[in-house]
């Protein structure tokens, strides 16, 4: 387990972010730059090789208006089916749990049950409803999540939650697989007299031809 979010965030270098020009300025912080968000990343023992962080969590202090866009691949992974179901029925969310190592795709009903159990365990720790938790997975297709390792890591992961730049950076590293760099960015602009921020992180290197809806 990484001792700190700073150690996790330094595991791989950051990607150059080629931000288009516009009436905004790039700011530090990634997903934690906007008000109300915290993030963490840590190694939870899910990866087959190495000890790069593999578990990330992004939370919002209040009910956040939630949107999702998902693969249109008919063979969709269990977390995709789960999130689509949640967002079909609820418009708000409080947390996104992400693991790297196992994609939990083509894992059938057992894989779906794993998602439900992971969300329920995290909900209990965060003292929120399970329906407020969304889940993303990436890694080897055909393998279920290493659930015991994940569940065992959740208390540590929640304790690492932070609204700092390091929190965002460590989460951005923890979601990577074959990526050589982590991807995280935030911008600030003014809308109707108020300063607002938009932050984001992403991962991807191979099996990339998205067609999300």
């Amino acid at each position: 387990v990484c001792a700190s979010s700073e150690a996790a965030s330094n595991y791989i270098p950051k990607a150059p972010i080629l931000l288009p020009e516009g009436p905004w300025e790039q700011v530090l912080g990634g997903v934690t730059a906007p008000k109300g968000f915290r993030a963490a990343g840590m190694y939870g023992g899910l990866r087959a090789k190495g000890e790069k962080p593999d578990l990330a969590l992004v939370t919002c202090d209040v009910d956040a208006v939630a949107a999702g866009s998902f693969t249109t691949n008919i063979v969709a992974a269990a977390p995709v089916l789960y999130c689509r179901h949640i967002l079909d029925n609820f418009s708000a969310a409080r947390a996104v749990l992400i693991n790297a190592g196992q994609a939990n795709a083509a894992t059938g009903d057992a894989g779906y049950q794993d998602v439900i159990e992971c969300a329920a365990a995290l909900a209990k720790l965060l003292q929120i409803q399970p329906e407020a938790i969304l889940v993303e997975s990436t890694g080897v297709i055909g393998q279920r999540i290493k659930k015991e390792a994940l569940l065992k890591s959740l208390p540590k992961l929640t304790s690492l939650l932070s609204s700092t730049i390091e929190g965002a950076d460590s989460a951005a590293v923890a979601i990577t697989t074959t990526d050589l760099v982590s991807k995280s960015v935030a911008v600030e602009t003014e809308i109707a007299g108020a300063r607002i921020k938009v932050g984001g992180m992403a991962k991807g290197s191979g099996m990339i031809h998205p067609n999300m809806a």
């Binding site: 972010i17 999702g68 999130c83 992180m201 991807g204 290197s205």
Partner: protein, 220 residues
Amino acid sequence: TLLGVLTTDALVEPDVWRKIVQIAVDRSFNQITVDGDTSTNDTVIALASGLSGSTRISSLDRHEAKQLQACVDAVLQGLAKSIAWDGEGATCLVEVTVTGTNSEEAAAKIARSVASSSLSKAAVYGRDPNWGRIACSVGYAGVPFIPNELRISLGGILLMDGGQPLPFDRTAASAYLKHAGETHGTVEICISVGSGPGKGQAWGCDLSYDYVKINAEYTT
């Protein structure tokens, strides 16, 4: 697999937020390609806390919604380009810009067709200014256009105009590709297919030997 998490502290209605996110995804993540394989797990989750104290955005037609849309587009495009830049085995990012179509969607479709072409990608890795492969992938994109209006340039070097191949400095064009590869920079391909107002972009990367090596060793 592509995963993404987007956050904002803007105050926005759920239906407006969902539309903004999908439009931005269409302009960013849905316009990148590395290997033509659509993952089982591609997911983008976007959360809006509303804690900025901004005015509530309740309609896509409002100016504030357009401002937020532009910011979300920018963030997702920045991330999308970094994914293409980091494509497995890639030595450079390939940015394809298409203009002259009747709609944004048509331009985006052509741009992605070019960015997806294995032969064009391999040519970029081979530092070969292969306008023929680019023209071919424009042609099979599924968007009708008049061939005699096709114009292709590579990093500012005009390779084809009015549907006709032009004499160009092959050494300079190859050097442009080589420099991009050696610095892990960006190769810019600009295409025009007419005089319509549509403009679209797509991003990919070159196709190297390392792509096969990485994926031959990454078992399912």
